[in-house]
């Protein structure tokens, strides 16, 4: 048996040149310190993305992206298709869990200053992936064509209309017309299953390539202690030690997904009625709540600027600053005022997101 395994590996190595990978895996090491646990969140996010792709493909076999058939097809998946309820519930829960894990991953990277030289591009590609995941969430939310999704999309795309100069054009482009209709649904479906996955796959590949090439970043505090000889430099092999721990986390995520899907199957709601009135207390998905709540607090006019426009501009600027943080926090490895300012900014951003999301839920 062992001989057969060795011969098969030899056969494959001869044709695919697997020695390089084997060599890479043998030598790749992951730093070991008190913050190592945060390294696992990237892997869990990747695992959930794979779950998304697999369950998404299965859903595609029954889903119909038309205003007259979308809701009914999801209803059919939930009630008639064998394990359809499980696939759809896992797809929805996994999407939300993935966004949550990405938030954790992003803030852990931020506070560990893992974006500092030479990992600036890893951070930028990660941020682009984060925006992409939000776009996945926004486009996927409409697909069941239920009342809540319909009106949330209406409000969300209305927001796009506030962008100066190109706002109207962006809104019409997103909606496929002036209103949210079946054309919007078909368009969002196209974004959700073709455009976004294509871009995401390329970005994930680039992000992973950078992570493998540059290795895991050691937080500046730990790095200083190692240099000072206060703390020993420890590491573990990526394969199999780190990978097995990663898999352990994946199993945990799978268990959580299964439990959520079985105990709290994802609701379907009622079919969207474009001529109906918006339900009371309508709000977007939880990851957009902090922005939604901010816009609610803004007055309709601040000086001569529309409140919504001002809110969007502020979030746009904040997002842009967040993306280029590695280039602004140029002393991220040190003790300077600049780097302390950015740590403070991160704490403020995290607090703001938590507080405003909670306020929106109250």
């Amino acid at each position: 048996m062992a001989d057969l395994k060795r011969r098969t590996l030899d056969w494959l190595n001869e044709r695919l040149g697997g020695e390089g990978i084997e060599e890479f895996l043998r030598h790749k090491r992951v730093p070991l310190h008190r913050h190592t646990i945060w390294y696992y969140f990237g892997g869990i996010a990747l695992f959930l993305f794979v779950i998304q792709v697999l369950t998404g493909i299965l859903l595609l076999m029954y889903y119909r992206p038309t205003a007259s058939g979308a809701f009914e097809s999801v209803q059919f998946i939930m009630t008639q298709v064998k394990f359809g309820w499980l696939i759809r519930s896992i797809h929805s829960w996994s999407a939300n869990l993935m966004i949550f894990i990405i938030f954790v991953h992003m803030f852990s990277v931020f506070f560990m200053k893992a974006y500092r030289k030479p990992r600036e591009l890893t951070w930028v590609s990660g941020m682009l992936l984060f925006f992409l995941v939000l776009a996945f969430g926004f486009s996927g939310y409409l697909l069941p064509w239920n009342t809540l999704a319909f009106f949330a999309t209406k409000v969300g795309t209305d927001m796009a209309g506030f962008v100066p100069i190109f706002g109207k054009w962006i809104m019409v482009f997103l909606r496929g017309g002036n209103q949210v209709t079946g054309a919007t649904l078909t368009r969002f479906f196209g974004f959700h299953v073709a455009v976004l996955p294509g871009i995401a796959t390329m970005l994930i590949a680039f992000h992973l390539l950078l992570v493998q090439k540059l290795g895991m970043s050691v937080p500046p505090g730990v790095e200083r202690k190692i240099k000072a000889g206060v703390e020993p430099e420890r590491s573990m092999p990526f394969f199999p030690n780190f990978l097995l721990r990663d898999i352990l986390g994946w199993y945990g995520a799978l268990g959580a997904l299964g439990a959520l899907a079985a105990i709290f199957p994802w609701e379907l709601g009622t079919k969207a009625n474009p001529f109906g009135s918006a339900p009371a207390g309508i709000h977007p998905e939880w990851y957009f709540l902090f922005m939604f709540q901010t816009l609610k607090y803004l007055p309709s006019k601040v000086f001569f600027i529309d409140g919504e426009l001002l809110g969007l501009m502020l979030f746009g600027v904040a997002g842009a600053i967040w993306v280029v943080v590695p280039f602004l926090d140029y002393k991220a490895g040190g003790f300077g005022r600049v780097t302390r300012f950015f740590t403070g900014l991160g704490i403020f951003a995290l607090g703001y997101i938590i507080v405003f999301s909670c306020l929106a839920l109250l």
């Binding site: 309820w85 573990m236 199999p240 097995l244 299964g258 105990i263």
Partner: protein
């Protein structure tokens, strides 16, 4: 209230002559700029200036009509001559003159067309067919005339929610006289109609904002207000409850009630105190109305019992299905198709309640049995959903056990590997 408005309007009208000598500047008005009536009256003490103060809110004012258009006289003349009969001054009408006073314009189709072509012009004619109109002709000055219901000098369109004849205020307006036992003394009619109506399902619907719900004028008429006769009661109710009326007329009760002089619908549902019907009214139980006429052993008694049993069966099956579906929904199960079935079963219950008016047990049971079958189907769907939920939870338990075993295996492998 009604009486004070009427009498004060006369007093005010009579006082115009005295008032003219105290002429002053005019109050704001959309009517033509020069109006000596308003100019003088607005300067008088409260009682005499009231018409001038109220009038800017009046529908006639908004139509561009001035005091002189109703009362005659010359609004351009600041002297007492403005009120001379030579200038067409008619003064304030007596109560008996009021219908004709309003009818001068409102009964003239050619004139009314200029303001509102769709407005009826037969109110005056119709009024004199009413009990009010007939009594007025006989010299009874206590009966209601136009201004008693529509008010005076601050008249609003009936479609204006502030108007006393807007559907939500009609009952109160009628009750001003009809609920006043002292005022109604001598007419020999009850004065509790308003109190009874207030308890009715119709009043509740009106209070709930349904302005199409019946109020006094819906059954009695407005300008031609008269109590419906025994034979026309079913027709009055049937204007809204069409199916019920049709079934009742074709039922064995229809001709028998007519022969016995019983007032159709009212016999079971009462007239003013029309309560929300209860299923317990049908059958042979202590609250059943059927047993007020039918006795054990007769066909009606048997039919009542069968219909009641049909209702009970449908309601209990429906309730059972609803409970199971609620549990399934709370568990996150998708049972919307079964919920559609439940709306059909509920429609069957409503249809059966209407079909009761045929007093034919077979017809009613046909509908209730359909409802029972539909409810049963929904119940089975609910039970299947609960089985599915249990199956999922068992599956989850097995999957979690497998995951825990895998995690434990990995954990021990890592520990063994790293210790080794």
């Amino acid at each position: 209230m009604k009486r004070s408005i009427t009498s004060s309007s006369w007093i005010i009208g009579c006082a115009i002559g005295v008032a003219i000598v105290f002429c002053g500047p005019s109050v704001a008005s959309a009517a033509p700029a020069k109006d000596s009536c308003v100019a003088c009256h607005s300067q008088l003490p409260d009682e005499y200036s009231k018409p001038a103060k109220l009038y800017p809110g009046d529908i006639h004012h908004r139509a561009g009509l001035s005091c002189a258009d109703c009362h005659g006289g010359d609004r351009n003349d600041d002297s007492m001559n403005a009120m001379s009969p030579a200038k067409g001054f008619r003064g304030a009408p007596t109560k008996a003159q009021i219908p004709a006073f309003c009818g001068r314009c409102h009964s003239n189709p050619a004139y009314m067309r200029k303001f509102n072509p769709s407005l009826r012009t037969d109110q005056e004619t119709e009024y004199f067919t009413s009990v009010h109109g007939k009594k007025l002709k006989q010299g009874d000055a206590k009966v209601a005339v136009c201004v008693d219901c529509h008010s005076v000098h601050d008249i609003l369109a009936p479609s204006d929610p502030r108007a006393p004849v807007y559907p939500t205020h009609v009952a109160e307006t009628c009750a001003r006289c009809h609920a006043d036992a002292n005022y109604m003394k001598g007419y020999n009619i009850p004065t509790n109609q308003y109190a009874l109506y207030e308890k009715s399902v119709h009043a509740a619907a009106m209070e709930g904002g349904d302005t199409s719900a019946p109020t006094c004028s819906t059954c009695h008429g407005n300008h031609g207000a008269t109590p419906p006769g025994l034979n026309s009661v079913a027709n009055v109710c049937g204007t809204c409850h069409v199916m019920n009326q049709e079934l009742f007329e074709k039922s064995p009760h229809g001709p028998i009630f007519a022969k016995m002089g019983l007032p159709g619908c009212v016999q079971c549902h009462s007239n003013h105190e029309i309560l929300a019907p209860r299923d317990s009214w049908v059958g042979t139980g202590p609250k059943a109305i059927c047993v007020t006429c039918h006795v054990a052993g007769d066909n009606g008694y048997k039919a009542a019992k069968e219909i009641s049993n049909g209702f009970d069966k449908l309601k209990s099956t429906y309730q059972k299905a609803d409970t199971v579906l609620n549990t399934a929904e709370k568990s996150g199960m998708e049972v919307s198709n079964a919920r559609v079935e439940m709306t059909n079963a509920h429609s069957d219950l409503i249809k059966a309640r209407v079909a009761v008016h045929s007093f034919n047990a077979a017809d009613v049971l046909k509908i209730t049995n359909e409802g029972v079958a539909t409810s049963q189907k929904a119940y089975e769907a609910g039970v299947a959903a609960l089985h599915e939920r249990d199956y999922r939870r068992k599956g989850l338990a097995l999957a979690l056990i497998a995951i825990v075993i895998a995690i434990s295996g990995l954990y021990f492998k890592i520990r063994k590997m790293e210790r080794g």
